[in-house]
């Protein structure tokens, strides 16, 4: 099997169409994109029910889909052995462009030609199964990328060595920290003879030492004559690694050519930002020059002093009230969910609907960022860590995190009891306190304080339910959940854990005041 299992594209084109002379004159290409446009269907409601579409059909009403063109008339090519950068703001169409090159999204109009094998590195570890061991996942992930088993067997030791996971390779992946999964993903995806490596923001995971190792490997790739398509927010990285670049905005080409020229133009435009078309106005009586505004994923002009804290919520906007009472100051709520945003607004706070994972907010915009009972809802393998990293960027003083205490879940289970929130979500294993703090240290956020909430000494509290209670319950009620064994716990249990991450030096007394709130 000469090229078993990879995206291999036959590029022999009809000689009548392309004269040999032209081929000789132009440098060898790895990717050729010509006049590409992509249309996506955006349904109003993502999933339509049979009943609804039956009604629409009977009423002869077409299905309401919004057309959206994330990429319009874009042309570029990537030469063999070149590192090619794509820059642009969030929502400019970079990811869609990469997905078309990777073959995930079909082009609507235009030509895309990829010459050779692709190793996509879209989101690290996307193909991993948490139940399986690191070893099994190497083969699963490798086969997802289309690598033959023989090749993986040959390279296995090298992959594990690069990921620095020799000791843990037979441990189920759910016990890995997100940094460990990211390392394994990168090691597999790059340890192959691909002709084109696609790197999408992937280098922002892992600690800085591992990032450096990844960058080194990219240099090796280039020196071996492979091509790399590189997307990053870090203009510095793009400038350092790439030879040529493409700048897109709103899906259209704004600049294309040598990396220096394109980035200079991009930076100049960024500094002199024109009033954008899709600005979401804040429903606030704040003077216009103060107010933040949203553009795509970016929240701009959050000037120091306008807001004192940002509250990230996934399920309950009341966290913003808690933070205001406890820490004081003016709060801004952000959430991916419109329901939560409406909740924030109803409570009298400013709020934006934006995915916190992808929100772009200037560094050190606020004093503190709070993430209450929300961290475990970011379920991507490295979701919680990415949120914490975001929060640590936005805040000057500290990050406040409250998570349900997963530590005592098994202990409660041994008494036939559970916390009322127990069935709400699948708890990512690495959100257990020891793993989370390990990740914090990985991220260079080693100055943190952990405090557990009020100890619970018996089962006679409303937050504890009998284990037999159905999922999705509120607090304990005898009518709903039946009798509950009344147990004095041999050791106290904790329902929640508060985590304070200091981002600057604090006086001992000042820090003590922050972390020792009376429960």
């Amino acid at each position: 099997m000469p090229m078993a299992g990879a995206l291999t594209v036959d590029t022999r084109r009809d000689p009548a169409v392309e004269p040999a002379a032209e081929a000789a004159a132009t440098p060898a290409l790895a990717v050729r994109v010509e006049d590409l446009s992509v249309r996506l269907e955006l349904q109003k409601e993502r999933v339509m029910s049979l009943r609804e579409s039956a009604i629409r059909f009977l009423e002869r009403r077409p299905v309401e889909t919004e057309e959206f063109w994330p990429v319009r008339n874009v042309s570029f090519d990537v030469r063999r052995g070149e590192v090619f950068g794509i820059v642009g703001r969030n929502g400019a169409g970079k990811s869609t462009l990469l997905k078309v090159v990777a073959g995930v999204v079909a082009p609507t109009r235009g030509d895309v030609e990829v010459i050779g094998r692709i190793a996509p590195l879209l989101e690290l570890g996307a193909g991993f199964d948490p139940e399986m061991t690191g070893r099994e996942n190497v083969f699963l992930y490798g086969s997802l990328l289309g690598f033959p088993r023989r090749r993986l067997l040959e390279r296995f030791d090298h992959i594990v060595q690069f990921a620095e996971l020799e000791e843990f390779i037979d441990v189920p992946l759910k016990n890995y920290s997100s940094g460990m999964s990211a390392r394994l993903g990168f090691a597999v995806a790059t340890d192959v003879d691909a002709d084109l490596l696609i790197v999408d923001e992937a280098l922002t995971v892992g600690d800085s030492r591992f990032q450096l190792k990844c960058l080194e490997r990219i240099e090796v790739f280039r020196s071996k004559g492979m091509s790399i398509l590189f997307v990053s927010h870090s203009l510095e990285q793009v400038r350092r690694l790439c030879t040529r670049a493409l700048w897109i905005e709103g899906g259209e080409t704004r600049g294309y050519g040598p990396v220096g020229d394109v980035l200079d133009a991009y930076e100049a435009a960024e500094l002199d930002k024109p009033a954008a078309a899709h600005v979401q106005a804040l429903p606030s009586d704040r003077p216009a020059e103060h107010a933040a505004r949203r553009l795509g994923n970016a929240i701009e002009r959050v000037q120091p002093g306008v807001y004192d804290f940002i509250d990230i919520s996934t399920h309950d906007p009341n966290s913003v009230v808690y933070c205001e009472r406890r820490f004081g100051g003016e709060g801004l709520g952000i959430s991916k969910s419109q329901r939560i945003v409406d909740g924030y607004l109803a409570l009298g706070f400013d709020a934006f609907r934006v995915d916190p994972l992808h929100a772009v907010i200037p560094e050190s915009s606020v004093g503190l960022v709070s993430i209450m009972d929300a961290l475990h809802f970011f379920q991507a393998p490295d979701g919680p860590e990415r949120i914490v990293a975001q929060a640590a960027r936005w805040a000057r003083d500290f990050v406040f995190i409250r998570i349900p205490s997963f530590e005592d879940v098994d202990y409660l289970k041994s008494f036939g009891l559970k916390f009322f929130w127990y069935d709400w979500t699948i708890i990512p294993a690495h959100l257990r306190l020891d793993r989370l703090t390990e990740s914090l240290r990985d991220m260079g956020l080693a100055d943190y304080h952990v405090s557990v909430g009020k100890p619970v000494v018996s089962s006679d509290v409303p937050t504890i339910l009998p284990a037999s209670a159905p999922p999705d319950q509120g607090e304990y009620s005898r009518e709903l959940h039946g009798a509950k064994p009344s147990i004095e716990f041999p050791r106290p249990v904790f329902a929640q854990i508060d985590l304070y991450i200091a981002l600057r030096k604090f006086e001992t007394e000042e820090w003590r005041r922050i972390v020792s709130y009376p429960f």
Partner: protein
């Protein structure tokens, strides 16, 4: 503006070779499916044999001792039930397979038909293993092993193709309408009673026989059961119908699936 050569020539060629090129992934998906299913169970893979065996013992005892049916009536039910279970589990898991792999589909290109195929294959392996306890039941009930058994690969292969074809259609529908999953549960229940599995076709009143005949499962199950239960080779015409059903259903499923495959990304 030229039209996409990518979507036309490239993707078409990938489609044909895709499943073969990605056979390694297929193997890993099937392996994962089976491994995860029996994880943390003490007996592990032994359940693949034990489960059907226990079902068979229960059926044998009930039919012989409780209903005082014919000696080998248990065999009649069990043989059909095994194939029916393969079809119902394979197709209902295949139905879900694309949607649950949404995170992957959004990130890496793989031939998407591989997900339903993996579900069907995992259940096919289960089915294959359950033939071992079936043989034990044959011995126990005194059924004769005849050369007619050699014909079994034909109805089995037809059932495999048929199940895969149905999975492709259902998986496609489920991407656009998530109700399909719940609807299909009811369809399966109706199908179970519309197919002569636990009752012989001859107890069905004449006017309803036609209903059984238009049910593809009746043909597949009968062709599978006849060599085991009666020790006879099914008529060539019946076998031909089975093969036709398998190939036809797969062809239909393949067409439907690939007609809409490129749009999945907007909906998963």
């Amino acid at each position: 503006m030229s039209t996409g050569t990518y979507s036309a020539s490239l993707v078409a060629s990938k489609r044909f070779r895709g499943l073969w090129l990605y056979r390694e992934l297929l193997r890993n998906l099937v392996e994962r499916d089976i491994k995860v299913r029996y994880k943390r169970s003490v007996l592990g893979f032994a359940w693949m044999l034990l489960n059907p065996l226990i079902t068979m013992i229960v059926f044998t005892v009930i039919f012989r001792e409780v209903f005082k049916m014919e000696q080998d009536y248990a065999l009649y039910v069990i043989s059909a039930l095994l194939l029916y279970n393969f079809f119902s589990l394979g197709s209902s898991q295949g139905l879900n397979s694309v949607v649950v792999s949404g995170a992957l589909i959004r990130k890496v290109w793989v031939p998407k038909a591989i997900f339903p195929l993996a579900s069907v294959c995992a259940n096919f392996i289960n089915f294959g293993l359950s033939l071992i306890p079936l043989a034990a039941v044959m011995v126990f009930t005194g059924a004769k092993a005849t050369p007619a058994l050699l014909i079994l690969p034909i109805p089995i292969a037809a059932a495999f193709l048929f199940t895969f074809g149905v999975s492709l259609v259902l998986a496609t529908l489920n991407v656009f309408y998530r109700d399909v999953r719940w609807f299909y549960d009811s369809v399966l229940l109706i199908l179970f009673y519309m197919t002569p599995i636990i009752y012989p076709a001859k107890v069905v009143p004449e006017q309803f026989r036609a209903v059984l005949k238009v049910n593809p499962l009746t043909w597949l199950l009968d062709a599978f059961r006849m060599p085991i239960y009666e020790g006879r080779v099914p008529p060539a015409s019946d076998l031909l119908v089975c093969v036709g059903l398998g190939v036809g259903m797969l062809w239909l499923g393949w067409l439907v699936f690939h007609r809409y495959e490129d749009r999945f990304i907007n909906y998963v």
